[in-house]
Amino acid sequence: MTLDELIERQESEQERQRKLKRRILCCTAAGCMSCGAETVRKAVAAEIQAQGKESEMEVCGTGCMGLCSRGPLVRTSDDGSLYGDVDAEDAAALVSDAPAAYARLGAKRIDTSAPFFTRQKKIVLAHSGEVDPERLNDYIAAGGYQALGRALAEMTPEEVIAEIRKSGLRGRGGAGYPTALKWELVAKQSATPKYVVCNADEGDPGAFMDRSILEGDPHLVLEGMAIAGYAVGAQQGYIYVRGEYALAIQRLQAAIRQAERERLLGSRVFEESFQFRIDLRIGAGAFVCGEETALIASIEGRRGQPRQRPPYPPESGLWGQPTLINNVETFANVAPILLNGGDWFASIGSGASKGTKVFALAGRIANTGLIEVPMGIPLREIIFDIGGGVPGGGGFKAAQTGGPSGGCIPAEYLDTPVDYESLAAIGSIMGSGGLIVMDQASSMVDVARFFMEFCMDESCGKCIPCRAGTVQMHDILTRILNGEGTPDDIEMLERLCIVLRETSLCGLGQTAPNPVLSTLRYFRHEYEQLVQPKPAPAGGQS
């Protein structure tokens, strides 16, 4: 396909959709799927046939619509209504035009003028819930692959990197390394072949942003990777995706096949000399493989154990070759930046954190689901306006960001703007986007033990501080929780935190103490209550 043909295809597909009276969009992301979305979609399809409306209506599966707690979700295109808790019996009403039918659905209509919807800003999730991830034409109708086409036809690789630099995009995997800097490092290497790797080994408990992007808009990630390939001079890409994400894997495989068939990937992309292939590598369940050198080892078919850096992957990565590794959400930002310009992207967000961030809201919060907000938004707005606050009258106690590498943020810091630097300053991290709310009933020592158990299980065992330290810290936390701890235990815990942070080989061990450090910092009294010295034995205890 050439760029002109792509634009033609876009127009004809848009025209086709305009002529339809109604498109009935059913969320078929994993959350809705697990509460019956497939049954709803099938029922709607059968109903369209039964009412003989094939020429004016169609049913589509889409990516995540965000409000997972109300699934299955369905949207009707003609009036833009969104319905929650839909079941198969609603199918007739969704297809019907009779006002009586709307009465049935009325109670299920979700108010889209609520802050949950209006306070969001969607770049990465712009198509999620709007396009059918299994139909390439849907993505093309939404402007898909035009950024790649334009980059190949009108820009040099240096100009692409310059645009990314202008945007201020930083890595969305958690550390926030400037994306353009990484691309430049790979681009200036003379060794070939080079590789582009998409890190889709999303492992933080409570985080499902990457999964939702891959399930909802796989082509957006493929397009971003291909643009990166052009910018750094790579011809081969890999997506390292968690084995547990069966639906994402299936949709990615289908998307790659479709794109190759239309020459949007593969050899002679857009009839230009550029070639770029993408293959999947399925992870086998090891959290540490989210660390880039461990991920490389795993793609090479070895145990996923990290190695000392430097050399960093841009110099020596996959099979010793220059390798660019970015997270799913980072790649998903690339095409929108090229289409709208770096300045547009840089105008969103705050300070040194540009653009938006996708968060997965979970825990004791009314609206669990997936959201995208401009950087710099205060935490309070995310939790109370968008998230709808803490249900059940338990009251807010802490928000956990950054998973096992992050920290717990107490109520007095709720007005902290969500950006890389501000979150680091209060002892947490932006992380990949998991945001879990805890109410007053949650024990913060228990939360710290929970994350330590996770790190203990997931430690790869290569370096001693992490292998032995996580076990010791877990033992101490368990002892404290069982009421058998002493004040000395708290002190030992703090010393171990420093040892792990300073001496572990990779990020897993270096950040494993964060949940302990942050709970000690803000909820020290909970530890101290648990280690109250017992009454003196002289009291006549048997």
């Binding site: 994993a30 959350g31 697990s34 509460c35 997972c68 707690s69 699934g71 999303e202 492992g203 933080d204 408990p205 409570g206 985080a207 499902f208 999964r211 084995g243 547990e244 994400y245 590598r281 399925i282 992870g283 086998a284 369940g285 090891a286 959290f287 795993s298 793609i299 090479e300 078919g301 070895r302 145990r303 996923g304 997965a360 979970a362 825990g363 004791r364 669990t368 689901g369 956990q400 998973g403 998991g434 879990i436 805890m438 949650s442 939360v447 929970f450 994350f451 790869c460």
Partner: protein, 164 residues
């Protein structure tokens, strides 16, 4: 289904052929070890020692490397699974919603997490976050996600499938 000595020859041959095909697709390259183990586990249900030795031989890798990789990743199982498989999500959202209590029920009545009950009926696993945090606490039961599971529901299901 796990490989058993009583499997009809035709079925076993077919699986061998399919595994062979998976290896040849990757040109018997050692780099493809994880892909090959995925394929093997899908075919046989688990990875018995003879199978690992065979993979090592075909990919020209030392058995220690194959065993090392198979035991490193949670996904690979060296023992056969039970008739039923409960995976309790222990992600943060499920944990604060009571996943531990669900796991306690299964551990008390069936087997420790990561194990299988002595009668081979039920396997229990504490799963890493399955990313369905809106459904917390979630349990994957024989591949199907159950949402907002209570101890009562779980006990009833165990009664139903005849766990004492």
């Amino acid at each position: 289904m796990p490989a058993s000595p009583t499997a009809p020859d035709a079925v076993r041959d077919n699986r061998e052929k399919m595994l062979e095909r998976a290896m040849s697709r990757h040109n018997y390259s050692g780099d493809a070890l994880i892909e090959v183990l995925h394929a093997a586990q899908e075919l046989y249900g688990f990875l018995p020692p003879e199978l690992l030795k065979k993979v090592a031989r075909k990919l020209k890798l030392p058995p220690s490397r194959v065993y090392g990789v198979a035991t490193f990743y949670h996904f690979f199982s060296l023992a056969p699974k039970g008739e039923h498989f409960f995976q309790v999500c222990t992600g943060t959202a499920c944990y604060v919603a009571g996943a531990q209590e669900l796991l306690n029920v299964l551990e008390r009545r069936c087997a420790k997490a990561g194990g299988t009950s002595p009668d081979g009926k039920v396997s229990v696993q504490a799963a890493r976050c399955i990313g369905s945090c809106g459904l917390a606490p979630a349990v994957i039961y024989d591949g199907r996600i159950l949402a907002r599971v209570t101890e009562k529901q779980l006990n009833e299901e165990l009664d139903r499938i005849g766990v004492s």
